[in-house]
């Protein structure tokens, strides 16, 4: 393994930071969901890199479970977005304030 695990973790941190930035600045709930996917995948990269470093499969199992959770999250998130669009609500995360007000 000529490329050390620290480089993989560094890439994973950069991707996570980009995803976090996207969650903060974008207003379309769809793109917020895409950015969350980005963050989940960067965590998967770190898990798999450390799994390789430890020489065990445990981190890969964790990554597999994260994939399942991410798929569930996409289903619920997209279901909410479609339900919002059906009710003719504006797809804008800044206008979704029913729980705050």
């Amino acid at each position: 393994m000529p490329v050390g695990v620290e480089y993989y973790v560094g890439v994973s941190a950069i991707l996570f930071g980009i995803g976090l930035y996207g969650v903060f600045i974008r207003r379309s709930p769809l793109i917020v969901l895409l950015s969350v996917e980005l963050m989940l995948n960067s965590c998967n990269l770190a898990l798999i890199a450390f799994s390789r470093q430890a020489g065990t499969q445990d981190g890969q199992v964790f990554a597999l479970v994260v994939m399942a959770i991410a798929a569930s999250e996409v289903v619920i998130g997209l279901g909410l977005v479609v339900a919002m669009a059906r009710r003719r609500m504006e797809l804008d995360t800044d206008s979704l304030t029913a729980l705050r007000d």
Partner: protein, 218 residues
């Protein structure tokens, strides 16, 4: 390739290319104005992450990443974006500058934190692993052994998400005004036999509310 420049150098080149691709496509996801383009950029990002997984000997996860993620999940995303059409576009308003700054600080702080953490620690070389490390067979041993509970919980979560998706996506009748009559009441209460046969098949020609008489009068 490895004959010419050595396996280690080849791996480094692949790593650098995948890094460039991953970061460029991640920026594409976040900065692209069109949700459809964002989703396509995310597919590229997922594929470059699968390259990393291959470099890390996680063959099965690389395949699962491409098939499940870049295939199934992203297709679902693209379907929803296409279904929403223009409604999916970004609301056209400028982001306040303080929000941009806060987002940059939050994202950047995390990156700096992790970089500091990994540079202050000596990891050393990774151990050599068997050639079947990361194959489906090798991953299945801990998955169905030590982490069986987590696997089962994940399956329940997926089931709940599937039911939730159906509930959220189901069409409900539009809400009625207070003076509007309840639609189809008569038909539901006293269904016409012919109509019911037409709609539901011959087995249900008796009215739905009809209780068959008990056998033998008992």
């Amino acid at each position: 390739m490895s004959d010419l420049i050595g396996a280690g150098t080849a791996e480094t080149i692949v790593f650098i290319a995948a890094t460039a691709l991953a970061i460029a496509s991640a920026l594409g996801v976040v900065l692209s104005g069109n949700p459809f383009r964002s989703a396509l950029w995310l597919i590229l990002n997922l594929v470059s992450l699968a390259t990393f997984y291959l470099l890390l000997n996680a063959d099965f996860l690389a395949a699962a990443q491409v098939i499940v993620y870049a295939g199934a999940v992203m297709i679902m995303f693209l379907f929803v974006i296409a279904y929403l059409g223009g409604a999916a576009d970004e609301p056209s308003r400028d982001t306040p500058i303080w929000q941009l700054a806060a987002a940059l600080i939050a994202g950047g702080a995390l990156v700096v934190e992790v970089v500091l953490a990994i540079t202050s620690h000596e990891f050393g070389g990774a151990p050599d692993v068997a050639s079947n490390f990361g194959s489906a067979e090798a991953v299945s041993v801990p998955l169905f052994g030590r982490y069986l509970l987590g696997f089962e919980v994940a399956s329940v979560v997926l089931l709940v998400a599937a039911v939730g998706g159906v509930v959220l996506g189901a069409r409900r009748p539009a809400p009625r005004g207070p003076d509007e009559a309840e639609p189809f009441t008569e038909q539901v209460k006293h269904p016409e036999p012919e109509l019911q046969t037409l709609v539901m098949g011959a087995e249900t020609t008796f009215p739905v509310h009809h209780v068959p008489p008990k056998e033998g009068g008992g």
